[in-house]
Symmetry: none
Subunit: 246 residues, 2 copies
């Protein structure tokens, strides 16, 4: 179960303290102990402690941060959860497949995050852009609304099963790029695309999302990202100030 | 999913109306609609309706009975849930196996019940005697206490997967790039890398191999490859003949 110690659960802007407590309890039953709260409306709170029902340690050790980027610091794999299939087909998967992948990555030393959105509105597209994979819990088509702690319970259950059955860790591959390294790369890529006149700087969204999707699927290693950054820097030098970009 | 219509969820003496509402919601997301409450402390109740969050229909149609025997009337298979392994070695199983068995039975016309116990004390041995099978949700050994609605969520999720059978095919993605399109892209990428002075044209091998590996993992769609080609062309235009490349 050591792999589970490298997996954190991130709740983005939870509104109801009861859900935070229920999430802690769901995690604790399955061996997950690292909870990160992004801008919770109320924390700590009595109701969270009451609903945790014995899993207080998870709450006591919970990290509270201001932004999703902080919550994902150091992560090599961030899995965002969403009730709907988005129009742009992200690399989506179901809990079982996502858990297997996450546990394998964690067993090889990668820090992993599962990101759950607000009770009413879930995660924004910009937040999903920060993730390398999208997880959708299967439901009936006419009622997709899982409670957030119930969603955490299902995912934690699958992680528990995957960790229990995990084969011995693979010899460590090269380390994957972390979430913050990926963000720097995307920023750099966007600047270069603008510089060479390929991207309308006032409307970079759709194209950048496609680029994110493409690279997210590849899950670049750190070395590979360094090569890509090197190419971008060489392009900038080559274009100098003379390109059509601004 | 027709099999699910023959599966009922039985809560024995639930104390907290919130758990009844959360159970209804958990069931509804997964396509279970028949809830039976044995001697609930408080039902109907406002809190149950609030926590059902849109799954009110399950609550409105819930049957309230006085005894477990009434709740199990007509059932050919009753599965009791328990957090602990009892001293008496019951025929216990995990959710996935129990769900497969239950869905197979229900598909063959059998009425099936999943029985969940009281929040604090679970089911008595006498109540488990009424069941033909025992289900235990795997947990860490030192914290077995799942919330009852969370337990229902896990079981309902497994029932949903079992009833669905093979996952439906993914919605048709955009066509992947073909091998020759990929080759053209790699050729173009190599020329641009040389042009911007990033690649030693006499020894491009290692770096190009890494780039191939990276993009191969991503399995680019044709549209994505066209975007990448567009960026490369824009870079060539931007660098003109003035770059350090030859």
């Amino acid at each position: 179960m050591e792999a589970l110690s490298r997996i954190r659960v991130v709740l983005v802007e939870p509104t109801h303290p009861g859900n935070v407590g229920a999430t802690a309890r769901a995690m604790r039953t399955m061996g997950l102990e690292r909870l990160v709260l992004v801008a919770p409306r109320e924390f700590p709170s009595e109701e969270a402690w009451a609903r945790a029902s014995g899993a207080e340690e998870v709450l006591e050790r919970a990290r509270v941060v201001a932004t999703l980027d902080e919550a994902l610091a150091g992560c090599g794999l961030a899995v965002g959860t969403s009730a709907r299939r988005r129009s742009l087909a992200w690399p989506g998967r179901e809990p079982r497949a996502a858990a297997a992948e996450a546990v394998a990555a964690a067993a090889a030393g990668t820090e992993v995050a599962f990101v759950f959105g607000r009770e009413r509105t879930g995660l924004t597209n910009a937040e999903l852009d920060r993730c390398q994979a999208l997880l959708t819990i299967p439901t009936v088509p006419d009622f997709r609304s899982l409670n957030v702690a119930a969603a955490v319970q299902v995912v934690a259950y699958e992680l528990h099963l995957a960790a229990r059955g995990a084969p011995p860790a693979e010899p460590p591959a090269e380390p994957p790029a972390t979430a913050d390294e990926l963000e720097s790369f995307y920023g750099h890529l966007e600047r270069v695309m603008v510089r060479v006149g390929f991207l309308d700087p006032d409307n970079p969204r759709r194209l950048m999302r496609r680029m994110r999707r493409l690279f997210a699927r590849a899950r670049p290693e750190r070395t590979e990202l360094n090569i890509l950054r090197g190419i971008l820097t060489a392009v900038e030098r080559c274009c100098g100030g003379r390109g059509p970009g601004r």
